[in-house]
Symmetry: C2
Subunit: 318 residues, 2 copies
């Protein structure tokens, strides 16, 4: 049997899993990243984590064919280099080469959101769909594009920046410098901002009972208000879903994937989010839904998506 190691390299923790050829996780574990240290130390730790896990699972190191790393920032997958990562304070780090020294097998790197997209495509929510788009609604809006089971990264892995597609020119300011980005309307951060604004304008809203302190507003607050029957909360949620639908429909019209998979905390709202969102997206699909429908669903691998996808990336490229 062939096995592959998948690493989800985060600013706080390094998570690693060893998976088989069909995507089963045999064993997983994590260690603190210790960001700020020289990259060679972090790479050595990651390699050690792989061999430790293999040993604990009773897998001979020779059976691990390759390893993959999903890293924050810009990862030049062709050359195995982390071009830039502000989380890790890395600049042109030859991560593949460094880890290969220790592991003796090919090591491949890609961006963390791309890895998660590939994980969901290989063994998660998009398993039965050749083409899918994965969208995470978190601090920002990240994502990955899978075409015929393979990650699409764009020239020098600089594409797939789906959060930085403007859906409302001249609108909300985005961290990237543009105005009106998808991220500025559909991230959890954007939902929180929208909720706070609505509360500011409506001191009588029940949202103030749910969350008496503006600083405590999170991505759940408006949905809680909606469930409590509050009109202001309902408006916030409706508005949020409308913008989310615009961005998803844009990507659907451009890629016409088989499926769109949503990840991130907001997805915990389940059908309260999904039912109206599906209705709106379907209404915005070019040419309607009959000829080439697009399934809209939520991620199923949770925190494992990144490591499964990183391992799959290694499997496909080695």
């Amino acid at each position: 049997m062939n096995y592959y190691a998948g690493i989800d390299l985060g600013g706080t923790f390094v998570k690693c899993g060893i998976i088989d050829e069909v995507g089963n996780i045999l064993i997983k574990g994590k260690i603190p990243t210790g960001a700020g240290r020289p990259y060679a130390e972090i790479a050595a730790d990651m390699a050690r984590l792989v061999t430790d896990l293999a040993e604990r699972a009773g897998i001979s190191p020779a059976d691990i064919k390759a390893a993959g790393v999903g890293s924050p920032g810009i990862a030049d997958s062709k050359n195995g280099v982390i071009v830039y990562s502000c989380n890790l304070n890395w600049d042109k780090v030859p991560l593949s080469k460094e880890m290969q020294k220790h592991l003796g097998v090919p090591v491949f790197v890609t961006n963390d959101a791309n890895a998660a997209a590939l994980g969901e495509s290989f063994a998660g929510a998009a398993k039965n769909y050749p083409s899918s788009i994965f969208i995470t609604l978190g601090t920002g809006v990240g994502g990955g594009i899978i075409l015929d089971g393979v990650l699409f990264e764009g020239n020098r892995s600089a594409g797939a920046e789906i959060g930085h597609m403007v859906i409302r020119a001249g609108g909300e300011k985005c961290a990237c410098g543009r105005r009106g980005c998808f991220e500025a309307y559909a991230s959890a951060t954007a939902l929180i901002r929208q909720t706070k604004r609505a509360m500011d304008k409506d001191r009588a809203s029940q949202l103030w009972k749910i969350c008496p302190n503006l600083e405590d507003v999170d991505g759940k607050t408006a949905f809680d208000g909606l469930r409590a029957g509050d009109k202001t909360a309902e408006k916030v949620v409706k508005n949020y879903i409308s913008y989310l639908a615009e961005g998803i429909a844009n990507l659907a019209n451009i890629f016409r994937p088989n499926a769109v998979v949503l990840g991130g905390g907001v997805c915990a709202e389940g059908d309260t989010l999904l039912v109206p969102l599906r209705r709106k997206v379907n209404r915005l699909l070019y040419g309607g839904t009959k000829y080439a429908p697009v399934v809209l669903t939520v991620a199923t691998l949770g925190n494992d998506a990144g490591l499964v996808g990183a391992a799959r990336f290694a499997m496909q490229n080695c």
Copy 2:
């Protein structure tokens, strides 16, 4: 030598060319489409045009390895079916099969804008770039996406509807039913509408000298006004270029292609359009232009792009 026939099937004319393996056009010709007739008649005429041209060029029919057709409407390239075309009044027409009967070689179909994109990629403006996006600014905004030299069509060939990406949610109404589509801001039709509106508001504008009759306004009018020093015209052009830049930057951030190629009448404005457009697009590229620059240029094949691309599509698929 192997040759390929490429057909650009339009509502008025059928244009055909026979090209060699490197994209040289050996001979070309055209016949009236006679739209409205049964599809079998049109298919037979197209096949006859191919054999006539081959004969006139002294090419043995046996040397023509395959034929490709770029058709208006939705073309299911996998099954060789024109799913729907309002121009031709076609509904589920098995065009590949019908033409193969006459030609005895494989026949492939794709959408006309996709064919033009592939033509520019194979032998035109994007020849030296593996990945490119072709955008035509005409009555609508059409286009095609080339990834590593191959056409990307999406599931059931229903993708690449780049004109129907919303860039200003809630904005101008689009023919597709959405509001704020790229097409509703960047097509020649949109530019004409914007010019007329500006003239309506400014009766003193020099635009009235250039074009005394509102109905005669075309895609050139505002540019002519700009060159004549008219402030209102300048604003119209500036605004048009801003929206065009937003849409192009969106596609660049999503695909990070090597090049974006513009087609359509508006491109005749040359540097008056291109210089400010490039500056704006570059400012909107995620992460800047240093790491993975995107070349912005204009189409070079003109009316031949479709037939060259259709032939290339046949070459790649046979």
